[in-house]
Assembly symmetry: C2
Homo-oligomer: 150 residues x 2
Amino acid sequence: MTIEKKEVEQRMKHFETVCRDEGIKLTHQRIEIFREVAHTGDHPDADQIFRRVRDRMPTVSLDTVYRTLWLLNDLGLVVTLGSSRERTRFDANLSSHHHFVCGQCGFTHDFYSNDLDNIRLPDSVGTLGEIEATHVELRGVCRECLEKGR
Amino acid sequence: MTIEKKEVEQRMKHFETVCRDEGIKLTHQRIEIFREVAHTGDHPDADQIFRRVRDRMPTVSLDTVYRTLWLLNDLGLVVTLGSSRERTRFDANLSSHHHFVCGQCGFTHDFYSNDLDNIRLPDSVGTLGEIEATHVELRGVCRECLEKGR
DNA sequence: TTTAATGCAAAAGATTTGCAACATG
DNA sequence: CATGTTGCAAATCTTTTGCATTAAA
């Protein structure tokens, strides 16, 4: 799943702006690593990102990829997903979206829904703290696995 | 957070029934490990469970704890939570509930809501696959962290 | 008694860190 | 030029595995 060129450019611009504002140096490595995450919608993990970036930039190291990804996460430029047992995966899609997770193959598909973005929460949650984001996660079996299973 | 005695007993009963039905041996270790998860509501990780069980059963080993927890998970007796960067945590609360996760301290509070259990999903998700469970995750900052921050 | 489960110790992964060399602003 | 960043290699931390011993049914 590839992100539209226009969207990728927008994400790159935003990334550069945030780095400048924060006094973070724009190194080749960081640019290529962010570009890699920004232009895919398939939630790669650190190792996958490492391999893909290495194709274009053979000297890059895995630990730089890790350091950069967590930096991007701290800067709010990427988000992590992936539950406990699997590796951490990264996503540069910052617009409000929800997830359908296949319990069989682990694949996570994004989906959008205005209704879900605006769910009404029970008053009781106000006691727990301040809510910043609401995220719906559907667990199930994806079409591909359903077909394989039969 | 401690679970009511009655509820714990119910969980233990269910655990024993499932094990018998599946031909899984009811060893001391398994009983104590499940009891430990069943009687707490604070989502402990494998190591915490190990330490707590070891207090009562000094010979238990960490790998047995892991093996048992994943077995319980496969049997549908516990559920895992905890996102990528943190250790896997375990929960024996099987009734439909949702989570409030504090982005600061990582603490996950359970909460209940009939409305959320029955959210209406957009038709489009039908194309993704078969949905088994809907789970709402709220991200924010918990009361404790809010107070510390100020 | 038979088969599955445990404990131990060692292995395997994934991720992180210290430090000298290097590139960015 | 000063400082932050990288690459390397080694360390760390969590989780898993092989195997001989032990315990449940």
